[in-house]
């Protein structure tokens, strides 16, 4: 969240507004009592567009601060992009900066170029994708050679190219250098300052902070694991982990046909096959490579746990995954007393196919031969 990103900013010398992180209305009042002046109360949430959703308020006395904080903490912020909303649990109280100008700066990974890319525009405070769509010339980019790293000329070049007001120019190289150091140190997918503010009194300050970390790199910074714990848990990811799957191996979708496949590509291909047959997948589920019977059984239970599932299609092309283990898992899952049973179509081919088919036949099940056939059958069964 913003307050955590700003802690990292200060660690690399990027100036941030004066302020304090709080979790209660009384803390807001106490802080304003000690530091009289005009303050901004900013809801700490992960969703974008919190200002328009009513998550930012202004206070200039302790009582006003307490009152507004009571309103904000516990409130669920919603907007068009985030219809489910997000509950506010904490606030950042910051000085109200008189803004002369706003810029945007971010560093992210360009997949195609395989390099970090710096993006700068003088149109700060806006959605950068919108700026890119409406005024692409206003955006300046520089691809950094990871073998060389950041040098100050990169910041100068970008500041001139993006036509940042002169007030930014002196501070910009050290701010961008700090941002790059942080991007590299924490293995971030994205670090973003939007807006980077030039104040009326000539200071350049990071008014907001966004940092997206790579889960695969978190082991290098155990102190940042708390970030993920504090974030509102994605229900799909939590369910995947509880089942023993990888974090992105399960995703709930809108249809009524449950899917289990081995491999991400086959999982996506199976969703597509179901759609081509006139149906819609209720989920994506990839049991991964080399799954044992127990994981198959748990995956089955996870999928039927979704009440909208009317039929299930298990599609396995065994490479490292063995057909007998998958068949055993299916039979064990169905043997459970309290398990909800839905019409089931199984397609099982590849490694240990013969053994798997024998196990299924012993339980009275007959696998289909192809993915298209299985999808068609599952769609028919879901229609009843």
């Amino acid at each position: 969240m913003e307050y955590q990103g700003k802690e990292l900013f200060r660690g690399v010398g990027i100036p941030t507004p004066r302020g304090v992180f709080v979790r209660s209305p009384d803390d807001v009042a106490a802080f304003i009592a000690e530091n009289p002046g005009a303050w901004v109360l900013k809801s700490q949430v992960l969703m974008g567009g919190r200002g328009k959703a009513g998550g930012i308020k202004f206070a200039s006395s302790p009582d006003e601060g307490r009152e507004l904080a009571r309103e904000l903490i516990g409130k669920v912020l919603r907007n068009e992009q985030n219809p489910d909303g997000e509950e506010v649990k904490s606030l950042l109280v910051e000085e109200k900066v008189a803004i002369a100008s706003e810029a945007y700066v971010s560093i992210t990974i360009d997949r195609a170029a395989k390099k970090p890319v710096v993006i700068v525009t003088a149109q700060g405070g806006m959605d950068v994708e919108e700026v890119a769509a409406h005024d692409p010339d206003a955006i300046s980019k520089y691809w950094i050679d990871a073998a060389i790293g950041f040098e100050p000329f990169i910041a100068r070049r970008l500041a001139f190219a993006a036509k940042l007001p002169t007030g930014f120019q002196r501070a910009f190289p050290s701010i961008l250098g700090g941002l790059y150091a942080m991007f590299m140190e924490y293995g971030a997918n994205l670090v973003e300052i939007n807006p980077l503010v030039l104040s009326e009194d000539g200071r350049v300050i990071a008014s907001d902070a966004k940092v997206d970390l790579d889960d695969n790199g978190l082991y290098k910074h155990p102190e940042l694991k708390a970030w993920k714990n504090e974030a509102p848990a994605d229900e799909d990811q939590a369910a995947a982990l509880a089942t023993g799957l990888g974090i992105s191996n399960y995703a709930k979708l809108d249809g009524n046909i449950g899917i289990i496949a081995n491999g991400a590509g086959l999982g996506m291909g199976t969703m597509d096959a179901v759609r081509n047959a006139g149906g819609a997948a209720a989920n994506f589920l990839d049991i991964g490579g080399g799954a044992q019977a127990e994981l198959v059984k748990k995956s089955y239970n996870l999928v039927v746990g979704d009440p909208k599932v009317k039929a299930m299609f298990i599609n396995i092309f065994g490479g490292i995954t063995r057909g007998d283990q998958v068949a055993k898992g299916i039979v064990e899952a169905l043997a459970g007393d309290d398990v909800r049973k839905v019409p089931l179509v199984v397609r099982l081919t590849g490694t240990n196919e013969k053994e798997g088919r024998e196990i299924l036949a012993g339980a009275g099940m007959n696998p289909v031969e192809t993915m298209d056939e299985g999808a068609r059958r599952a769609v028919e069964l879901a229609r009843g």
């Binding site: 293995g187 695969n216 992105s248 979708l253 590509g265 086959l266 996506m268 096959a273 590849g350 298209d372």
Partner: protein, 292 residues
């Protein structure tokens, strides 16, 4: 000679004594791959059950065996180091199976290991059917032949290869390029190699949602492969925006990575896009029947 791999390629295995490494070493040997040895630090001087020697370092293994290819089965925190060690020892092609390597580790690797071809990471490897297999693919679905295949997925590759083989379309080389955001060898790199391969008559490109590799591939085909038929497939066409589906790179974010954009790009390049894998063999045959 197909691409990247033939029956004379000498292959070493990094992480040869681990559970996965050992299991797949045995399968690769059974396929006919020339495995010349492996590396596990601290176990140098021993042998695995197949009789292959184990070395402490990649350099020792290369010096003793003349290995040119490596396959890496080491855990994510050590995978970048394994790639650097292979590069330092003069390896020319490295297949990295490991899933879960930090993207920044790979940024550093690809920025510095010039001259060494990297396949993956988070990939099933590559195979030149009937010659050699360096990966974790089930060897029995492949048939020797003249179709090249490039894919971001593992199991979907087996599905497509099985359909091709059953339709009498054998393969020259199949490359699983991997599902991560930062990979060594891209669709375009493989297409460039297939373009000049005299043993490949047509190429199947199996993409998926996320990133812009497929769009880049389409642009390359339009310009550089006028005479070699290409057929494409995009996995995840029914996927919703914003959900990461299994592969770290398989996500539609905003306007990038959408299936519509990829299909449009391929069609603009004259490349037919199969609606489902079962249509691929027919499309390949149709394209091969058109006089160049």
């Amino acid at each position: 000679m197909a691409i990247y791999l033939d029956k004379n390629s000498k292959v070493l295995v990094q992480g040869i004594t681990g559970r996965e490494g050992l299991f797949h070493t045995q399968r690769m040997i059974a396929y006919g791959t020339q495995i010349v040895g492996g590396v596990t630090p601290g176990k140098g001087g021993t042998r695995i059950d197949t009789g292959n020697p184990v070395f402490d370092t990649v350099k020792d293994c290369v010096d003793a065996t003349g290995a040119t290819h490596t396959i890496i089965f080491v855990p994510p925190p050590y995978a970048a180091d394994a790639l650097f060690e292979a590069y330092d020892a003069g390896i020319s092609l490295a297949v990295c199976i490991t899933e879960g390597i930090p993207a920044h580790d790979m940024l550093k690797v690809v920025a510095t290991t010039h001259g060494m071809r990297i396949i993956g990471p988070n990939c099933p490897g590559l195979v030149s059917p009937g010659k050699s297999l360096v990966g974790i693919m089930p060897g029995h679905v492949f048939r020797p032949g003249r179709i090249g295949l490039i894919s971001r997925s593992g199991t979907l590759t087996y599905e497509i290869v099985d359909l091709l083989s059953k339709a009498g379309l054998g393969q020259s080389t199949c490359v699983g390029i991997g599902g991560d955001p930062i990979i060594g060898t891209t669709f375009v790199d493989c297409l460039r190699s297939f373009a000049t391969d005299s043993e490949t008559d047509a190429v199947v490109v199996c993409g998926e949602i996320g990133g812009s590799d497929e769009e880049d591939a389409a642009a390359f085909i339009a310009e550089h492969l006028p005479n070699k038929p290409v057929v494409a497939f995009i996995g995840g066409r029914s996927a919703p925006s914003g959900k990461r589906l299994g592969h770290a790179g398989a996500i539609i974010s905003g306007n990038t990575g959408t299936p519509q954009s990829k299909v449009k790009a391929f069609e603009a390049a004259g490349v037919p896009v199969a609606e489902r894998p079962s249509q691929i063999p027919m499309l390949v045959k149709e394209r091969l029947a058109v006089p160049a």
